[in-house]
């Protein structure tokens, strides 16, 4: 990890395995990353790459069994979140670490008013009385840009549109002034014009509140506009990690390079034909003993089949898990 301020969240060698009827699935393999105060870390990957499971593992949100967090440390607030009692963990979740989920339609409880759902964490974590909590809830709704906030507190989720519901979710996540906000595909279920509204809101809130954010998405366009640093995941592993500028101008992992080539854009040159990444993303039946991307990789060679590449430090906070050195165009030294 590059130096800088002390990280607010430091994850080392996280491993999560699911027990399924057809054997184990290694969803998260040795994932390490840290989050500095006030920064926005983007996590990119396709479905099944382990990005959501990583975040859920570190907050103990996965049902065990079938999930099994096998190892690693998650340092937050001088505590290892993987080794604390459930009460401490409950205090952290929704308190110092806020969570926004992908689907605003299903993550709000339809039988409670929006006001009650925003007040719940305030009363649980901050010990506010009803009156204080109601006042704060109104403030929060105003903060996320919901007009007529006071009246809307007594509305139910179905009375809000998708974009508005996502704003409510963000208000709930922000209720207790979190140090870290984890947003799991918060705009994926929304239309582009509504997504643009939420992205603007997020940028504004970050400058206002100064919290650190982990933003999970599969959309590289969203990442380009909002992130400071980016972590690319594939097969439950971090394959590349860099500042957002470096990642887009100087991608080092073949998967990142292929991913950037495969997406069409609305400006710039229009490719006559899309570049394709052949094959399918892997299902990790075993802990990786070889490179998970090698079957789809255009620069794979024999070493990739017998050894899993570690994350090579490339300087300036950039690292990539690949035996092939794209800068020299040759394999790295063994």
């Amino acid at each position: 990890m590059p130096d800088g301020a002390l990280p607010v969240l430091d994850v080392q060698n996280l491993k999560t395995v699911f027990q399924t009827r057809s054997g184990e699935v290694h969803a998260v393999n040795d994932v390490s990353f840290s989050l500095r105060p006030g920064e926005l870390l983007g996590v990119v990957g396709e479905s099944g790459s382990g990005k959501s499971v990583t975040m859920m593992s570190l907050l103990g949100l996965l049902p065990t069994p079938p999930a099994d967090v096998r190892g690693g440390t998650v340092m937050f607030d001088d505590k290892d979140l993987l080794n604390v009692d459930s009460k401490t963990l409950r205090d952290v979740r929704g308190g110092k670490i806020g969570f926004v989920f992908q689907d605003p339609m299903t993550s709000l409880n339809p039988v409670y008013t929006v006001g009650m759902q925003i007040m719940e964490p305030l009363r649980k974590h901050m010990g506010m009385n009803k009156k204080q909590a109601a006042a704060r809830a109104q403030e929060l709704l105003e903060l996320v840009g919901i007009p007529d906030a006071k009246r809307r507190l007594s509305d139910y989720p179905h009375q809000f549109s998708g974009g508005m519901r996502q704003r409510v979710m963000i208000a709930i996540a922000l209720a207790c002034d979190p140090q870290v906000l984890i947003a799991d595909e918060p705009t994926t279920a929304l239309d582009v014009t509504i997504q643009a509204q939420i992205l603007e809101l997020m940028k504004e809130l970050r400058t206002k509140l100064g919290m650190a954010v982990i933003w999970i998405t599969h959309d590289l366009g969203v990442i380009a506009g909002i992130a400071d640093r980016v972590m690319v995941m594939y097969g439950g592993q971090v394959v590349e990690h860099a500042t957002v500028e470096d990642l887009f101008t100087d991608p080092q992992h073949p998967y990142t390079r292929a991913l950037l080539k495969t997406i069409p854009t609305i400006a710039g040159e229009r490719a006559a034909r899309l570049t394709v990444i052949e094959g399918q993303p892997p299902i990790m039946k075993d802990a990786p003993a070889s490179c998970a991307f090698r079957d789809r990789c255009d620069v794979a060679f024999d070493r990739c089949a017998v050894e899993n590449p570690p994350r090579y430090d490339l300087g300036a906070g950039h690292d990539a898990a690949c035996f092939y050195d794209a800068r020299t165009g040759a394999p790295r030294d063994a």
Binding site: Q197, A224, T265, L274, E278
Partner: protein, 335 residues
């Protein structure tokens, strides 16, 4: 459509698809959702017409209505020389082979109890008199064409990944040698790296079989890649229709402008500098659209006339259509 010598394969005029809203104890009809409210367009033979818009704008309804999967409220639909707007469903059966559909969700549109072979063979059973052996051979050819291994013909859909399932859906649509295929969000449910595979396949098949597509999508960058011309829908109406290059380079309608500027660009340097038009508010309900122009509640360049009079849909420049009061004066002077 204008003076092009290319002939339209599909010609839609003033298509309306309204769904009734029933309420109360007696389920009285209290109103209607105007999902598609008077749209006209042509799809020229061999081209791909992209149909874009946000969820709820009526683009999928439009695609289904054009194939007469609904009994439409009113309008004319001419496909391959036949007027099918008012044809009965029974009579439509004989015309179905020329027009097919690829659905959004490859999970839901394939019967989990049928093998891949049975799924692709079903249209052949229904519409042709081929022998079993001929049908099996045809299924094999179709599987080759969409890049599925023939050996997997006896497997069930759940044994396949999302991208492969979409290939099965495409093979089924191709079985009867159609001319016109409506692709309703065919890549929306797929991962980024798989989307390109399916889009390239659709392009190859278009070339190989001379297909004409109506490509419905909310993904503006993918539509820019695949479409020849693009129609933009908002709240049941087409607000702009133009050749691809023109539409993306110089959008006319304020909604198209806002929509294009909302698409996040995968380029950090561009993303930080470019000015975004962020629309306020949400799309109004199609059961209760605003008076005047449908877009007047969110339009950044709204004028008084927009709140009272509905703009007409007309040809601003050769080949470019829009429905916006901003361009109506230009038209008068031009004529």
């Amino acid at each position: 459509m204008l003076d092009t010598e290319q002939k339209p394969l599909v010609s839609v005029r003033d298509l309306k698809m309204h769904f009734p809203i029933h309420a109360g104890l007696l389920r009285r009809r209290v109103g209607e959702v105007k999902a598609v409210d008077g749209i006209s367009f042509d799809v020229i033979e061999g081209e791909t017409l992209g149909l874009v818009g946000e969820s709820g704008c009526g683009k999928s309804t439009c695609g289904r209505a054009v194939l007469r999967l609904y009994d439409i409220t009113s309008g004319e639909i001419m496909i391959d020389g036949d007027e099918i707007g008012a044809t009965s469903q029974a009579q439509l059966r004989t015309k179905r082979p020329t027009m097919q559909m690829v659905f959004q969700d490859p999970q839901a549109s394939l019967n989990p109890r049928m093998t891949v072979e049975a799924i692709i063979k079903e249209p052949l059973d229904e519409h042709t008199k081929l022998s079993e052996a001929e049908k099996r051979e045809k299924v094999g050819e179709l599987m080759d064409a969409v890049g599925l291994n023939r050996q997997f013909a006896k497997r069930y859909p759940q044994a396949f990944s999302g991208g492969q399932r979409q290939r099965i859906g495409i093979a089924r649509a191709l079985a009867l040698n159609p001319k016109f295929i409506v692709c309703d969000e065919p890549i929306a449910a797929l991962d980024v790296s798989i989307q390109a595979q399916v889009v390239n396949l659709l392009e190859d098949l278009q070339e190989q079989f001379g297909l004409t597509y109506l490509f419905i999508s909310h993904d503006l960058s993918m539509v820019r890649h695949i479409a020849t011309r693009v129609a933009v829908m908002y709240l049941g109406k087409i607000v702009e229709l133009a050749p691809r290059e023109a539409l993306y380079a110089e959008p006319l309608h304020p909604y198209t402008k806002a929509l294009l500027s909302a698409v996040p660009e995968p380029d950090p340097s561009l993303a930080k500098t470019s000015e975004r038009v962020v629309l306020q508010g949400d799309v109004p309900s199609p059961a209760n659209p605003p008076k005047g122009c449908n877009f007047c509640t969110r339009c950044p360049s709204v004028m008084d006339i927009c709140k009272t009079t509905e703009p007409t849909y007309f040809e601003v420049q050769p080949g470019r259509f829009t429905a916006c009061h901003l361009y109506e004066n230009n038209n008068d002077t031009a004529e």
